[in-house]
């Protein structure tokens, strides 16, 4: 395992510039360099390949045995993956800029669901069967929920993480866990220990039914809300001045500050955006699944974090890809018929994936690119 910064060995076939100029991406000191990985396929990567092969074999058998179930389950997984993508992007944005795993993010997402139900039903009178009026109401609720979660997330940064900016790395991480527990209990105190239900406003009628593969409107609506949000985020990060400041801060805070970027304001803005994404995800989740409970956020947040790591943390397209993959894996696990472990094991499987990624490929699927979301 070569450390980054170890000078390249002689006789390597790669031009040294490609390796030397690359920052360690997944923030892992022991990530194998490109050269070593191609030269010596170690025992550990062989094991990883065997596992991937087994997974593909299992999927293939399921596809052949029951193709309609396979594709139905895939569509479910894709929809869940879209919700995960919004949450995972929040993790990856914050990690990219502060190298902090914001454990509280999942709970902000959970509060987003609660905000949605509260604003939607109590402020706007959202209920099932309102016809076309539903659209502006959902849109207004979405904006309010995003705003509330964004402000909450920025507030968390201000109170809990900013004072620890110069402390050892573990200090803000521990604080993040504390904040997560606090927010969870805020949800508990606010809405009580039981599931709260949202009105089922997304129509569940089928769009098409192709040889038993059904696709419902509510799934399409989830995708239709997710995709513009993702595109807006990509535009924000890659095309605007503020996005440039975010990328610069992520790359090097000192240099960014010297260049006149207000580092603290940029970080606050990043938390605001991440929180807004969590708010959007909260809306989609609460209206798609229609139930929210105070302790769902942490688990779902961890799954989304796994997705972010899967795609390569700090990498925006990677987070989306990872989220869709994790969503599909979860759906396959819960929905397929041939030797699927079932929903009891979902968390164990997702966390096994997380561990295996970190062991076999800590930089994630798309982690070869720069970490600041390019």
């Amino acid at each position: 395992m070569g450390e980054p910064g170890v000078p390249p060995r002689e006789g390597r076939s790669f031009p040294s510039k490609t390796v030397m100029s690359r920052k360690p991406v997944a923030a892992d000191a022991s990530a194998p360099t490109l050269a070593t990985r191609f030269k010596r396929p170690s025992a550990i990567s062989t094991v990883g390949l065997v596992l991937v092969a087994l997974l593909l074999f299992w999927l293939g058998v399921n596809l052949v045995k029951a193709p309609s179930v396979f594709f139905t389950v895939f569509l479910i997984g894709f929809t869940t993956g879209c919700v995960y993508a919004l949450v995972a992007l929040g993790y990856t944005l914050v990690y990219g800029i502060l190298e902090l795993i914001n454990f509280a993010h999942g709970d902000v997402f959970m509060l987003g669901g609660m905000f949605t139900i509260t604003f939607g039903t109590q402020l706007f009178g959202l209920k099932q069967g309102q016809g076309i009026v539903t659209v502006p109401i959902v849109f207004a609720t979405l904006l309010l929920s995003m705003l509330a979660c964004g402000l909450l997330n920025a507030g968390i940064e201000l109170i809990a993480y900013r004072p620890l900016r110069n402390a050892p790395r573990l200090a803000p991480l521990i604080t993040a866990i504390g904040v997560s527990f606090i927010i969870e209990d805020v949800g508990l105190a606010w809405k009580g220990p039981n599931y709260i239900t949202a009105p089922s406003v997304f129509p569940q009628s089928q769009i098409f039914n192709f040889y038993g593969v059904a696709y419902e409107w509510n799934k399409l609506i989830v995708v239709a809300i997710t995709v513009p949000v993702l595109l807006a985020l990509l535009y924000l990060v890659q095309r605007t001045r503020q996005g440039k400041a975010m990328r610069a801060t992520a790359q090097d805070k000192e240099a960014a500050a010297i260049m006149g970027i207000n580092v603290n304001r940029t970080i606050s803005f990043t938390f605001l955006i991440a929180g807004a994404l969590a708010g959007a995800a909260g809306l989609l989740y609460s209206l798609y699944v229609t139930t929210v409970r105070f302790d769902q956020g942490f688990q779902l947040g961890l799954i989304a974090f796994t997705a972010a790591v899967f795609g390569g943390i700090g990498n925006l397209p990677g987070a989306v890809l990872g989220a869709v993959l994790i969503g599909c894996i979860q759906a396959f696990n819960e929905g397929l018929s041939w030797h699927a472990p079932g929903s009891d094991w979902t968390e164990a499987i997702v966390f096994s994936i997380l561990i295996m990624i970190l062991v076999f490929r800590p930089e994630g699927l798309l982690g070869e690119r720069t970490p600041e979301g390019g």
């Binding site: 573990l170 209990d185 164990a348 966390f351």
Partner: protein, 524 residues
């Protein structure tokens, strides 16, 4: 404790290393600008106002504030004759007016502090151990603490000691080696299930007995004596820790944290779902119903006879003796055994701290690259930290499972990991005394304290005739989160810090920035 604080305060004055970390230092700078007499006046005034306010809520709480303030000021008097006189006066006041038991507690505490400093290193812990061992005899005679209510009963004491053991074990990983472990509950679970497998009816298709007490020798299942099992649970858990550690310890701090968290969750899932282990139909953990009952602990008939009944044959069917007006119960025996286990744990932990291995851990915690450059084998040293921490977690888990005579998957939820981490952080990472105090306090809160506090709040705090009717234990995890947040913001080194960790927390040993980012925003 006071010496520690003074020493740390001293480094502030000359070093000024704290200048930009946290709200706390700004407040301190303003406070230090005041004159000495002003400070005393302000503090005494605030104390009296507080006492008066609290007196209207609950009389005893007002008195308690006055007492604590008196203790503080007596402690700052010149030692002879004023300090002694003040202490005697305080004890006398409580002997005459207040609860007598409080007077005795104060007398013992004052006496301990009059032991000369060079002996106190040994005498302090010795007094603490004696008081702990005698606890079942005087527990029922103790005074009622305002807000917190009666003193914890002995069963809570066992719980506290078990969790302190785990906190001491986690302290090796987090405090010494600086590896954030968010899945410590996995070790607790491994220990508990090891005890459950080898001392219950779980594997009824085999019948194998080895020194188990208090059961029919023909009973099916594996029944190994608990004493051996405690060791076995420790060893198996340590091996498990190594297995977890080998692939993951290469990862850097926060990644390690998330991987250990993942392992904790996986173990929980396995425990919950393995009544049908990976679809094979094999009943490994009996699923959500848990494994119960477990065999009892004891020394067996022959040892008991040989010692003339001093060592009980079986903890659960013991006890007709009565000493000092207290009927000995099986809980007391569990309590004393737990104290012995805790002493062994603390002894090992202290010996490890300044051993070659312990110094290597500290080096890795402070700077991994430098440690590697000095020839410390990173992987091996980290794995040892993991294995040692896991060992004590396993022993504690096994012992607690035997005490409860049950093990359920619900005991091994992620919250427990954070709960134990909270103990280490509250007490002070890397400091055994701190971890013991923090662990005991939080374990007490979890078992009795929060319920008692909630009852006090519901009874005493009301607006008009409106009582809040709070279910405080429901919000336990939020309260721990709040404790973690407050400690990390205002006193990141913990209540009773180790000086070295305190310095690291304030200097920011890792990634020291070239440019002051914390204050960059205002003019940027």
């Amino acid at each position: 404790m006071t010496e520690h604080q003074e020493e740390i305060a001293a480094t502030d004055d000359d070093g000024a290393i704290h200048d930009n970390v946290g709200i706390r230092n700004e407040l301190r700078a303003r406070w230090q600008a005041l004159a000495f007499k002003e400070r005393i006046a302000i503090v005494v005034g605030l104390e009296l106002v507080l006492a008066a306010l609290l007196f209207f809520i609950d009389h005893s709480l007002g008195f308690a504030v006055v007492t604590v303030a008196a203790l503080y000021w007596i402690n700052r008097l010149p030692p002879l004759p004023w300090k002694l006189a003040g202490q005697a006066l305080l004890v006398a006041v409580f002997l005459v007016a207040g609860p007598r038991s409080l007077a005795v507690v104060l007398a013992v505490a004052f006496a301990t502090f009059w032991i000369p400093k060079q002996y106190r290193v040994w005498a302090g812990p010795a007094v603490a151990i004696v008081l702990a061992v005698l606890y079942p005899f005087y527990q029922s005679k103790m005074f009622t603490v305002p807000v917190f209510g009666v003193w914890p009963d002995v069963a809570t004491g066992v719980y506290m000691i078990v969790f302190v053991m785990m906190a001491v074990g986690l302290n090796i990983v987090v405090g010494y080696a600086g590896l954030l472990d968010l899945g410590y509950v996995a070790f607790y679970a491994t220990g508990a299930y090891t005890a459950a497998w080898f001392a219950s009816l779980q594997f009824a298709h085999v019948t194998w007995h080895f020194g188990a007490v208090g059961i029919d020798p023909k009973l099916p299942g594996i029944h190994v004596t608990i004493w051996l099992l405690l060791l076995l649970a420790g060893v198996i858990t340590a091996l498990f820790g190594i297995i977890i550690g080998l692939p993951t310890l290469r990862l850097r701090g926060d990644y390690l944290a998330i991987v250990t968290l993942g392992f904790g969750e996986i173990i929980y899932d396995v425990a919950r779902n393995s009544d049908n282990f990976i679809g094979t139909g094999f009943n490994l953990t009996n699923g959500p119903n848990g494994i119960t009952p477990l065999d009892s602990i004891g020394f067996g008939n022959s040892l008991s006879h040989w010692t003339g009944g001093l060592l009980p044959a079986n903890y659960l069917s013991c006890c007709n003796a009565k000493y000092l007006g207290h009927q000995i119960q099986s809980t007391d025996l569990f309590f004393w055994t737990a104290i012995v286990l805790l002493l062994i744990t603390v002894f090992c932990s202290l010996r490890l701290q300044y051993s070659r291995l312990g110094r290597a851990w500290i080096a890795i915690r402070e700077d991994e690259t430098a440690a590697a450059a000095m020839g410390i084998p990173l992987m091996r040293t980290k794995t040892w930290a993991y294995a040692s921490g896991a060992f004590f977690g396993g022993v504690a888990g096994a012992y607690y499972a035997v005490f409860k005579s049950a093990t359920f998957p619900g005991d091994f939820y992620f919250n427990i990991s954070v709960f134990i981490l909270c103990m280490v952080i509250l007490g002070g990472m890397g400091n055994i005394t701190g971890v013991i105090v923090g662990g005991a306090f939080l374990a007490y809160l979890n078992e009795e304290g929060l319920a008692n506090t909630g009852a006090w709040i519901n009874a005493n705090i009301h607006i008009g005739s409106h009582h809040p009717n709070l279910d405080v234990p429901l919000y336990a995890s939020g309260i721990y989160g709040l404790i973690i947040l407050i400690v990390m913001l205002f006193r990141p080194e913990g209540l009773i810090p180790s000086r070295r960790v305190a310095a690291e927390m304030h200097e920011g040993v890792h990634d020291e920035p070239l440019y002051d980012i914390a204050h960059a925003g205002s003019d940027g």
